[in-house]
Symmetry: C2
Subunit: 118 residues, 2 copies
Amino acid sequence: MNGRFRKCMYGAGTDFLIPAILAVLKKEPVHGYSLLEKLSAIGLNTSFFHPSILYRTLRAMEIHGLVSSNWDLQTSGPARRVYSITKVGEDFLENWCSTAMENIQLIQKIVDIAKGGE
Amino acid sequence: MNGRFRKCMYGAGTDFLIPAILAVLKKEPVHGYSLLEKLSAIGLNTSFFHPSILYRTLRAMEIHGLVSSNWDLQTSGPARRVYSITKVGEDFLENWCSTAMENIQLIQKIVDIAKGGE
DNA sequence: GTCCTTATTGACAAATTGCACATAGGTGTT
DNA sequence: AACACCTATGTGCAATTTGTCAATAAGGAC
């Protein structure tokens, strides 16, 4: 099963990627590569998308003002772009959370109907 | 706020469109136009996408074997394409439901972290 | 020097979406 | 008859998004 059908399964959708990134960044600024681990830790299936998608999403979020970035040249290894959440990003996340409950209810309702309830 | 950012908000994503369609079709076969009302009734925000997207999604689902269709020429008005769920579609829906709980937990976790918990 | 790991980005085809428009049958109106 | 309107489905095309692969770059291990 390919494309949108695979994507609509758990954790694959990038719909959860943006709020998940914002939630992680709200705790502390981090760089893209370590975000992969942190996102995986909170339950997002990171194996469904390539790292490049995460980086691209972060850049898109920066362009739209949800996050800001600074280069970290002090650590060993290649340079890291460290992302921080902005006020706009915090508002966006808060907004997302307030509708998340309706989101959950919709999922629950689909499950109920699928199981023959109602 | 445009594109993917608007889309990641409640109900807008077509990630819920496919399982919602399957859940409705599991109760009874219906045609595309009436699906709009039924999807709206269970809580999916249908104003976020044009009817043509629903039709295109249904055709894609048929191509992938999740649903099958027959023309209903007996009713008054223009012909209706009536969709029914297939065995493949039922399996897909069941599969989606079994991961839906993890989906809910992920949303809950993002909300918790966003609210400063954990 | 060569290989591996971390870390980020670019390029390009394929898929998906947004939007407008086309088609078509039926009903009511002037 | 001509017109507008509602139901019902579909197409075309540009714009956006995704999937995949490859490029770059710094440092450590051997």
